[in-house]
Symmetry: C2
Subunit: 198 residues, 2 copies
Amino acid sequence: MSEAPRDIENLIELMAKLPGLGPRSARRAVLYLIRKRALVLTPLADAMQAVAETARECVTCGNVSTSDRCDICVSEKRSTGEICVVEDVADLWAMERAGLFKGRYHVLGGTLSALDAVGPEDLGIPRLVQRVVDDNISEVILALNATVDGQTTAHYIADELEGRCLVSSLAQGVPIGGELDYLDEGTISAALSARKRM
Amino acid sequence: MSEAPRDIENLIELMAKLPGLGPRSARRAVLYLIRKRALVLTPLADAMQAVAETARECVTCGNVSTSDRCDICVSEKRSTGEICVVEDVADLWAMERAGLFKGRYHVLGGTLSALDAVGPEDLGIPRLVQRVVDDNISEVILALNATVDGQTTAHYIADELEGRCLVSSLAQGVPIGGELDYLDEGTISAALSARKRM
């Protein structure tokens, strides 16, 4: 890959590190950026600079933020009695898009994993327990992924919080618009066990 | 999409404009960038800034360059008698990766199109003819895509250059590693017509 000038080659190599882009799509993206210099490239460079300078982790919940405490943690409009536990910021954003939850969050930043030596401290679980006690939290909602690692972590957190507050987790069942024919057996079994009277 | 702080939201929107990235993958990419701030985000912002400042079109061939004339046009090692005509810079890079062609290029920046009102001047075809005359070019190799638009443009250029130099085009046939079973009839017919004695 030495067909482009060094500056451009360097940009392609960095772009190729982004998730979802490989060397070929990074080249396409860079050519697009050069063609749209004023409209996209310069604003994008500025936006990256701004985020590089301001982005940090909320000290309370672990959300991304441009100040020490994130917008959700400082918002007067959010109820203070519930904490929703998510694996990462992308999941927090997904919850916010759904728009139903009005409490605050705790972002784990991963799941417990003996193999990768990720323990409760790495996920801020002791900090979560402390928040539950200090802030008089009534309910912790575990919105972890329905994977083995996610559910293991959920059970660990539920045990840690036993007797301190109500602990709930997202319902499992048929997704809205989902067709039974395309669902795995586990989901159908879960939906059947949790069936509701019409 | 108001779940992230404004700076970060802005970066996501700009990233989503890149070819190959949509809103969802742009969010993933931005979260990745924030996590890898020192390692990727800051270098990427700097690299974009550098390219935004230096990238321009080579005045001779239309290749991307960081100076008025591109590395290939100024290189002493490239032969001066052949020009390879390509549709865009990505195709030029593909030719360079193949590594066989040692002449110089002419980048059209598109194909002739009556519908989109793209005429010969927009593609620099008069400039190409002038180069052929001025630089005493012996051969022009048309490396245009094997699409209807690409081949229409190729025929137009061949007509313009008639009598001024040799005009050739890339061979059509079975790609290296290609399986006949997966090739379209047009390719197989072209390969059969252009069959070579072993």
